[in-house]
Amino acid sequence: MKIGMRPINTETRAKSKFYRIADVSVKRKFMVIVIVLLLGSLGVYSFFAVPTTYNFNTGLPQDLETVKGLDTIDNSFGASELYPVYVITEINDVNNVNTTLHKDAEYLIALNGVKGVSGQDANGKNVTNVSDLSQYSIENKYAYYIVYIKYSPYTNHAINLVKKIRGNSEFIVEGITSTVIDEKKQNNAIYEELELLIATVIAVIIRILSGHGSIH
């Protein structure tokens, strides 16, 4: 007889492991449901609490040339050397441009976790005095700073620091860490909608198919 075509008699069926497992499950239904729900709620909590990374380079084989290069630069100059934070500030008051930018430079340099800043009136950890807008201005409308931080761009420390910079409404903040913050915010909203949508659609389809819906 061909595979799968053999008829299953009652005796064989009752001897099967699946039958016995189902028997125990039905007999102890309350216990099974309570245990699964308890374990499930723990799991659901961890589903939302598990820390994830946005770094797709994580886990790449160490012998790859790019990984070696990245590691060498990271170890010698810090992870922020390749992925610094870019801060753009609008020049609103042309008459007081130097004062404003000077204050911005002071603010960024003084932040905890900042290793150095390059930009108008900023040179590493020092605030300088430059009388005219230098190479860091964009058409005299914006000025930008390159902020080097002590942390890898994907870490919570970096995220918290960049969030603090973003908290200043005069700044537009760019760079990998800033992108990660935006992606997280965007994804959280989309994920919730997506999960709800999938669960609802499946529930509706199953309900219709099981004969309780309006379609027969």
Binding site: I21, S25, F30, I33, P51, T53, F56, L194, I198, S210
Partner: protein, 132 residues
Amino acid sequence: MLFSVSWTTALLYFISKYILHEAPIYLIPIILFIILFSLGSDYTVFIISRIREESASNERDTAIKNGIASSGKVVSALGIILAVSLGSLSLIPVAFLEQLGIAFIVSLLLFSNFSNNIFTPAMAYKSKMGVK
């Protein structure tokens, strides 16, 4: 399904952290959710329809036990086949695919063996899903 997805995410975190020494990539939980929810519904519908067939000529508990006895083996086998094929991604030395492969192995084995065979009978009995 929710049980499998959520526990897989938790287990993946520990596997990634303590064995692979890397953090899980943010896309993994949502990919798992989408794929397992669809697959899980597929398998559950198959089991429930088998239970419904049995319920035409049997009492509720017998119908459930017969339904699981007939379909449990097939569903478990499908889960194992899928776990092996999708799990082969874990052999690729790129963290994203590696983690996805491991997550598929854990979740499909957990879902097709644990959820379907242990949880579904109890829930089908209590909720009268698919049975008289």
